[in-house]
């Protein structure tokens, strides 16, 4: 009887796991099935012609370029904010510091704030400063969104740096500012993983750029111009009645899924490689 119960639940467990993996397969299959026929060279080398709801010609270059600009800009800005914070809570503050724990808690909490809230907040900021939807607005909103991810994933690596390493450098007469170099070198795989994770989040997020970056058929040439992004290219063009425009959405979904897939596997590979060296 006890055996039967265990067997019953074990079967359910395996079934549940299969259902979860099966949904992943279904998602990937659906995206590839619709996206692959829509893919062609024009898709990634041309911008759409004649308006994105009705234009039959052209591709997605505007969205690819826009997403690229936003990801690069926001990751750069995010690193600029998060690296000093990670250094501060791990080098300058004592190991059991309340401020450090509070910072960790707050970035965990901020990580859970939905992107639509960051988008709405970014929008209120832009209204306040009199900015229009622009590349800059998108970069700021996305940077706010990914900074908690950057902090948390770099902090996880920085926390386990041996204390001896810090002490050795300090005892040689280095100031804490000067040992940052040593620490950065130690956590560099962590920085790589953090960047890969946050790029994955940044490139796929639609709700934060909806208000802030806007949408355009052209490639932005300055920070004050609106920028198209891949997620919004999918979202807007899917609702078009014209099949050619819808195809662009499916092609964009395929490109986006592929990018995210590569990023998440690379992040996993890097953190694995690092933890192997550690032990």
């Amino acid at each position: 009887m006890r055996r039967a119960e265990e067997l019953f639940f074990k079967t359910l467990m395996i079934l549940a796991t299969i259902v979860i993996l099966g949904s992943l397969m279904m998602i990937l299959f659906a995206v590839v099935k619709r996206g692959l026929p829509a893919m062609n060279w024009d898709m990634i080398t041309k911008i759409p012609s004649g308006g994105f709801y009705i234009g039959k010609e052209g591709g997605l270059l505007n969205a690819i370029a826009g997403s690229l600009f936003i990801v690069i800009g926001s990751t750069f800005l995010g690193l600029l904010i998060s690296i000093p914070i990670v250094i501060y809570i791990n080098i300058y503050l004592p190991p059991k510091s309340f401020l450090a724990d509070l910072t960790r808690l707050s970035s965990d909490v901020l990580f859970g704030i939905p992107s639509i809230v960051y988008g709405a907040f970014g929008f209120t900021l832009m209204v306040y400063f009199g900015l229009k939807t622009s590349l800059l607005g998108g970069i700021i909103a996305v940077a706010l969104l990914i900074t908690p991810i950057l902090i948390r994933s770099m902090d996880e690596v920085a926390r386990i740096i041996p204390k001896d390493l810090k002490d050795a450098a300090l005892s040689l007469g280095a100031t804490r500012f000067e040992i940052i170099k040593v620490i950065l070198k130690q956590i560099s795989p962590g920085i790589t993983t953090a960047i890969l994770l946050s790029v994955g989040r940044a490139i796929g997020d639609a709700a934060s750029v909806l208000f802030t970056a806007g949408y355009t058929d052209n490639i932005p040439t300055s920070l004050s111009e609106p920028a198209a992004t891949l997620p919004l290219a999918i979202f807007f063009q899917l609702s078009s009645p014209i099949p050619e425009v819808q195809d662009r959405a499916y092609a964009a979904a395929l490109i986006l899924t592929f990018i995210v897939l590569v990023l998440s596997l690379a992040a996993r590979y890097y953190s694995r490689k690092f933890s192997k060296n550690k032990i």
């Binding site: 265990e6 979860i20 659906a30 809230v117």
Partner: protein, 303 residues
Amino acid sequence: MNKLNHTKYRILKDILARNVMLGLTIFSLLLAVIIGIGLYIKSAPILHDHSLWSLISSSSWRPFKGEFGFLPFIMGTLWVTLIAIVIALPLCLLSGIYLSEYAHPFVKRIVDPMIDILAGIPPVVYGVWGALVVVPFIGDVVAPHFVEYSSGYSVLSGGIVLAIMIIPLIISILTEIFAAIPKELRDASLSVGATKWQTIKFVIIRKSTPGIIAAVVLAISRAFGETIAVLMVCGNISQVPHSVFDSGYPLPALIANNYGEMMSLPLYDSALMLAALILFVIILIFNTISRIVLVRIERRFAL
């Protein structure tokens, strides 16, 4: 003399760097407060005209008449979240226990990266899948057995898509919690003759209940805030849904869908920012509580 100056310069640099970093750290702590204040300032005009209670208890949404009732959107959010949790939680518990207690390391090596990928898939791609697969499935296959007509764009479709989206989050927290339970506890249970399943049932699940609840609360707040995916499959009709096959219009979808025209009507932008503020406050509270619970669990078992 020169050397002394150099040392002073180095110390000065250290102090300067420390203060800049402290400033950034404090900024990151204040960010939540700044977001709250920013959204509150924008939503103050509508709170000045209507009471918060009348806004969230009224179901008439007619922006051009100045009527902003949030009830349909709040109910829409609650419906999709409830459906998502009801679907996701059993799957996650079963699969999480399997992965951390039974699964062969080889199986874990295959399944873990796949769950990572599931976590990384952008919401909009989930939306595409929902619109391509889930909506027609609900509309053509499931709904005809229960109701006369449903387009498939329903709270059920939204709930299913959301369920798949929150699964990776719940599983990753669950496996962490299960892994944090000390080996001695398991050994003690096994050594008095309990089977593995009994150990799971009476020791592991019982010991990790607070963690499981925290994971569910985190998942709920993720589901509350999800925007684009539910926007693409829920149908977006401002009504209080009466069955799972009815269309719904969750709060985040409302914000995202109307930002274009919100500047054209008085108080419209204020109403949408209030919606964002409501989301923000609820999720902030849920997140803070569950994160504190999770940190406590980690500490207690680490000792």
